[in-house]
Symmetry: none
Subunit: 210 residues, 4 copies
């Protein structure tokens, strides 16, 4: 009888699993969530059989990639809070950093189907909620410090964030990169305190965006 409940994968199996997730992240980002499973397997250097042994079907793989991704962003958010001197700076850093870090799977999530898959997964929901708690904290902190306009909520910031996660397509990658940075900055300026325009509706908080 083995002891561990979650029998921790053998070293090589572990390696395979990680390679697959890493490969899937890239491939999903590049070709969307409908790429042939075989493509992902090849790019991970394993056979389809192995892929299916680890992830019972495409949905499971998408879910795992999402978990992996949210974990990273959550880590980033916490690091930003710990390391930056002001809430505002933490927020700004998250906006910049996470884009560069995760220009990947999120793309895939644009797809209605992918969204559905991810939406009801408890692990992902949990991570998402954890992340929104951190963002909410940053938002309130930055507002108290007078750096962030008071009429936005964590939901607004998350939406802006989501918008940015869609990688720009452009024939010239250096333009795409520059453009992304410029767009973020423009948005950040729009978020700054004392803006000129009252926002329509009401602040979206972290529960509004479910």
């Amino acid at each position: 009888m083995s002891a561990d409940p979650q029998i921790p994968l053998r070293a090589d199996a572990r390696r395979n699993r990680d390679q697959i997730i890493a490969a899937a992240r890239l491939i999903f980002a590049e070709y969307g969530p409908e790429v042939p499973m075989e493509e992902i397997a090849r790019s991970a250097g394993v056979g389809v059989g192995t892929l299916y042994r680890r992830f019972p079907d495409r949905e499971a793989l998408i879910r795992e990639v999402a978990v992996d991704n949210f974990s990273r962003v959550l880590q980033d958010a916490r690091a930003a809070i710990t390391e930056e001197p002001t809430w505002w700076q933490a927020l700004v850093r998250l906006l910049y950093q996470s884009v560069e870090l995760h220009l990947s799977i999120q793309l895939a999530m644009l797809s209605k189907k992918a969204l559905e898959i991810v939406k009801d997964d408890p692990a992902i929901t949990q991570l998402r909620d954890d992340l929104l708690v951190e963002v909410d904290t940053m938002v309130r902190g930055a507002q108290e410090e007078g750096d962030l306009r008071p009429d936005v909520g964590a939901g607004d910031v998350a939406m802006l964030f989501a918008l940015l996660l869609r990688q720009m397509e452009s024939r010239r990658p250096e333009i795409a990169e520059m453009s992304t940075a410029r767009c973020i900055t423009i948005m950040i300026d729009g978020l700054r305190a004392n803006p000129g325009t009252p926002l329509p509706g009401r602040p979206l908080n972290r529960h509004d965006i479910n």
Copy 2:
């Protein structure tokens, strides 16, 4: 006399064609550019055969939907220029309006494949260029009038615009709509003259985004 070039489709054929494009626009927007053709046909109220008679393959349909879409946005842009008192207001109106109007095919264009298809079509390229000329005019005008920050170009605005065209997904549509409006407003505030943050890189003009 008579002799229109392009023998102008029989009345019923014309009607069908229009219905198909309209349906495709919606369906592409909702499910992405890979929806079964049959779906599109059904939703247009015709048989697949009819769809294929009019558009030799999926690519052709995507192209035509894109042409249709760009034409509308171009029209919008020109109307905004004609009807709004300042360049800045024309620009703002375009940002708001086009999102509401064209939350559709653009979505599709997120897909790498769809982009490829559209990129090399001469009709689309032409429309796109025409549109960028209008935007460029608005940008320069608004900058001269001191409403728009001087360190952005038509390319930056187009990128922002493109960003917005990806419809937000949300379980609750009223939240999605509100969120879109708020995001646009935040961006517009970021675009206003006298911003706090110098933008990275240099203004992207209409040629940068090819």
Copy 3:
């Protein structure tokens, strides 16, 4: 009330019918019996609708083309008998001439499906039988005159004939034509009286080949 039982087509309708058969003959010969009906219609200069008004379906068209073809060959055979001084010469002429004349639909008939269609049509069966009677006459005549080897029957000749009706494919048409003429001549030499080799089996007569 119209008088004729077979209401003889109006002049223009007649013309259409003939054009369609002529076109079908060529197209079948070139692309086989499965060409799109639309192709045939276009090449006959009419709409599909017209084609279908005249011939209820593809089978009917194939049948009519076959009737047209057999009639021509039958005419050729009779002309050869009338005009040539010996039976042998009539036979030879038929072999050469009909190839040139009817390199067409016969090709199509190689197709199993086309054969089935044609096999049971009474008009075609009749024409075929008439033709075989003429060939039989030539064969017996030429044998009595000592020009044709005595161990062949009308069936053998028909089979040889059928063989030749399959047009040779070749990249260079002048070679194809020369090759056909040479093959016929070689066969004719093989048919001549006093051959070196006894033929296997027994003479095939006109009933053997059904």
Copy 4:
């Protein structure tokens, strides 16, 4: 060790591949090169998927069947040369034998489309050329020995050969078989030295028929 180039298919895959080619040969011969792929798959006892895994599309399958076929004929030709006492007898044997053996794909080649497909395949071209070299040798040998009329070339023989490869259609198979044998014999007699009729054109050599 190991390291065969072309990783030599797993045993079961190999078996399937062979079954598919064998089935395709028969089915093509019977129904022409346009039979539903599903038909071929069923008759080979595999699913369509398997067929498509092995042969990317119909063209590829046709090509492989052709390669298989030409290889067999080439083998026959060489065996005939080795085993028969005279060149003439080798030629005669090839004519008889190959018909019986390969009454198959050749049929398919009657189709214009099939021809195109096969024409530009280097493997097939090579086999064809090899075969023509053997035929050329037989022809010259038989002519030197005085058995074959001097005014024919390897091209003429190849054309005759091609003609024969089109299986005769007949309701009664024993008649079809007898007829084939008789036709071949008649042709062979036509090929014998001291023929009565000068052939039109000039001897076609193996390059004439490209």
